[in-house]
């Protein structure tokens, strides 16, 4: 009896972690390796061919030579960069205002909540809303042409490639700047106030303190924001798909990598192998860039400190 008890104590640990391990293996680890495997096959969701035959690097070479895939990749990068840069600037300015100990902004929490709100809306809602808002006979044209008379005639914003890109970039920025600002505020409030106090005593102004104290100490948080935004941004799908249709038209102006993959994977093509290869390429792309970001953002001192420690020990 006693012996049994002492054994089962070790057992409890496994029981507690079992749900996580099982879920992790089933829904994360297995799909990742399965995707990798599928990317080397010609699997298709059809009777007799859903397991597929091994085709080596065929999917990859065909993708890398496909000019529409190139377009999807460059669109994705373009859409991410042009939404991330303004989003980061906007979020930094807002976060600096929210976190500032000297301004003590009134109702900061209300502003934070309002800025965060777009993120709570479903992409479906946002896309439908803006489709209506920007349509030829829609509210925006009614305001610009009818009420204010700024534009001579109504513009069908959805019909032009550049307009569509601007709208998608705007929507991404608008949906995510609040979230980014809140993360940055959290980072800023964790910076010791003593640093600002001593800087103020030395006569530094707000701008100087922002660039000399806030930004450098915010680096780890910025890195976090950048990497998560990058990973999310390269997987961009819902807004362009819902706003501009499955091909990201007009003229594939907002066709992203994930939309390309969706066209290959879904009915009637149902090409699992191809889609696996696209996923793998997307994964490689985000990994490489994330690693580069990690290198750039590494504290310059870290390396030195390590070296010194190594020498000392």
């Amino acid at each position: 009896m006693k012996k049994k008890n002492s054994i089962s104590k070790d057992y409890y640990g496994y029981i507690f972690i079992a749900p996580f391990i099982i879920i992790f293996i089933t829904f994360i680890l297995f799909p990742i390796f399965n995707t990798l495997y599928l990317s080397f096959t010609d699997a298709r969701i059809r009777p007799g061919s859903w397991r597929g035959d091994f085709v080596g690097f065929d999917n990859f070479t065909s993708l890398l030579g496909d000019h529409m895939f190139h377009m999807a990749v460059s669109n994705t990068w373009m859409l991410w960069l042009f939404n991330f840069i303004p989003q980061m600037i906007l979020a930094l300015v807002l976060a600096a205002m929210f976190a500032s100990t000297t301004y003590k902004l009134k109702g900061a929490n209300i502003f934070k909540a309002v800025y965060y709100l777009p993120n709570l809306l479903m992409p479906v809602t946002i896309a439908a809303l803006f489709n209506t808002f920007l349509s030829l006979h829609g509210p925006l044209n009614q305001i610009l042409v009818g009420m204010l008379g700024i534009m001579p005639e109504a513009r069908n914003f959805g019909a032009f490639a550049l307009d569509t890109r601007i709208v998608v970039i705007f929507l991404q920025t608008w949906m995510w700047f609040g979230q980014t600002a809140i993360v940055l505020v959290a980072g800023m409030t964790s910076i010791s106030p003593a640093l600002y106090e001593s800087a103020m005593i030395d006569g530094a102004n707000q701008v100087k303190m922002f660039f000399r104290i806030t930004l450098p100490l915010l680096k780890p948080v910025m890195l976090f924001v950048m990497v998560t935004s990058l990973v999310g941004g390269l997987q961009m799908f819902d807004i362009p798909h819902l706003y501009a249709g499955q091909f990201g038209n007009p003229d594939n102006s907002v066709l992203t990598v994930n939309m390309f993959m969706n066209l290959r994977r879904s009915f009637p093509s149902a090409l699992l192998g191809y889609s696996g290869a696209i996923s793998v390429l997307l994964f490689l792309m985000s990994s490489v860039v994330a690693l580069v970001l990690f290198r750039i953002f590494r504290e310059p001192d870290d390396a030195k400190v390590k070296k010194v420690r190594r020498v000392n020990s």
Partner: protein
């Protein structure tokens, strides 16, 4: 004791999870087959199947994208109380239903539907793909007796002439026009006199110009060229894919010219189908950016568009001010087909279900005449949803029944809505004109790409060649491997 229980629970959980993996992890959002809902393959031969005198017995899995399937399934159980139907539904939006069914049929195993419902957009993909749908050609005698409308059979016939799907309805289209506007611009609202004014594409454009001239541009002939797009499809000479190449039929090039004329001469309202403005136009509430009223003369809609789209949205605003004519080209839009899957556990029963749904005279008559009210269905199965019912008026797939039932719809609410015309007469005639033979499995995707390309052309974003290049690009993504 407790510990061993936990161990067992863990082991069972693990086994279930791994078992699901072994199956390919493909369980779609279906309910587990608990509670006796499963079909046992052993039943097929002897016990499960038919003694038609006493009604059928057995288990059936029916998967559908429309809840019309639940009405039919309930009616079927009313006649065959011994049949147990496990009914599952998923949306066809974004291809969810199609992905779900193809995955189940591809992987096989125990969770495979016996009967599936298919929409016009994807019925050809299933019919033409080997290994998915069973041969039910032997139901043809029933179809011959009912004079089933040819295009509905065409849709279910594969390239070898084997019939794999039937439909209970026919969904031909017509041109819905506004009587008051017709009176204003053509001096008559009589369908017989208006049809010659829209009888072919050239005359159509001429009449559209006349509407624009007289109205001073405030009335447009259609919401957008896309409205007429479907009328071109069945009248092509060749399909989209010939051999292994993308083929653009001369008629589709003519569509580009037609669309360009409508847009650049200011003949359409530049309003997309299904947009809020499109519904506004049916209610005479469409305003341009300056707040001026824009009227739309006509809408191209199929049978179901009358009760569900136009009547449903405009009955309170423009009741009785509508009329229907065949328009420039015969066409069809939507429709639902049924098939038995190749992997069906109980083929005989599944085929009987399809026969009942699509080729049973009494059932089709009930379907068309509104017999399947909620009370009727609830009497068979009290657990059916409170809003499940089938109103009268759907155009059934049997030409013989259409002739028989036509007088019943002379005074239907929808007939009053369209100025006293009997929709069964117009649609019944249109149904015989339509062809489905050129439709292929990838037509829906290719069609979307073509409509986008034409938009590119008529807004001036690309010239004709540029638009066609963009079209080929889109198709190369969705249907790779074409020359």
């Amino acid at each position: 004791m407790k510990k061993s229980l936990i161990t067992i629970a863990l082991a069972v959980t693990f086994a279930v999870v791994m078992g699901a993996c072994g199956d390919g992890g493909t369980a779609p959002p279906a309910t587990p087959p608990a509670g006796g809902g499963t079909a046992t393959p052993a039943q097929t031969g002897d016990t499960g199947t038919a003694a038609p005198d006493e009604g059928w017995e057995g288990n059936l899995r029916v998967w559908s994208f429309t809840n019309e399937a639940e009405v039919i399934a309930t009616a079927f159980r009313g006649l065959n109380p011994g049949v147990n139907i496990d009914f599952q539904m998923a949306s066809m939006d974004g291809g969810v239903f199609q992905d779900w069914v193809t995955l189940a049929l591809a992987v096989g195993g125990s969770d495979v539907p016996d009967v599936i419902f298919m929409e016009a957009d994807f019925v050809r993909s299933f019919v033409l793909e080997p290994g998915m749908l069973a041969d039910i050609s032997d139901l043809m005698p029933y179809a011959n007796a009912l004079e089933t409308i040819p295009f509905t059979i065409q849709a279910g016939t594969d390239d070898a002439g084997i019939i794999r799907a039937f439909s209970y309805q026919a969904t031909p289209g017509a041109m819905f026009y506004r009587r008051s506007m017709a009176q204003r611009y053509f001096g008559t609202d009589d369908p017989g006199q208006l049809q010659p004014l829209f009888a072919n594409l050239d005359i159509f454009v001429d009449s559209a110009r006349q509407i624009r001239e007289i109205s001073g541009g405030s009335t447009r002939v259609v919401s957008s060229p896309t409205e007429v797009y479907r009328a071109f499809l069945p009248n092509r000479a060749q399909p989209w894919i010939v051999g292994n190449s993308l083929n653009i039929d001369p008629l589709m090039l003519e569509y580009m010219t037609f669309a360009n004329a409508l847009r650049n001469e200011g003949l359409d309202a530049e309003v997309g189908q299904w947009s809020p403005e499109w519904f506004d136009a049916m209610r005479d509430q469409l305003m341009d950016a300056n707040g001026n009223l824009i009227e739309v003369f006509s809408f191209f809609m199929p049978t179901w568009g009358l009760p569900f789209v136009i009547y449903g949205n405009a009955a309170d605003y423009t009741h009785g001010d509508w009329g229907i004519i065949p328009g420039p080209l015969p066409f069809q839009w939507g429709g639902t087909w049924l098939a038995v899957t190749e992997q069906a556990a109980n083929f005989e029963l599944a085929r009987e279900f399809v026969r009942f749904a699509t080729l049973d005279e009494d059932h089709l008559r009930n379907w068309a005449t509104g017999v399947y009210t909620n009370q009727f269905l609830a009497a068979i199965d009290p657990s059916v949803p409170g809003d499940l019912s089938q109103g009268g008026g759907d155009l059934v797939s049997s030409a013989r029944l259409i002739r028989e039932l036509t007088p019943q719809f002379n005074d239907a609410p929808t007939a009053q809505f369209i100025g006293g015309q009997n929709p069964y007469v117009i649609f019944g005639e249109a149904a015989m004109q339509v062809s489905f033979g050129l439709q292929q499995g990838t037509d829906a995707t290719i069609g979307d790409a073509f409509i986008d390309a034409v938009d590119l052309y008529i807004t001036g974003e690309a010239d004709r060649e540029g638009a066609l290049t963009s079209f080929r690009n889109d198709v190369s993504i969705a249907v790779p491997g074409l020359n």
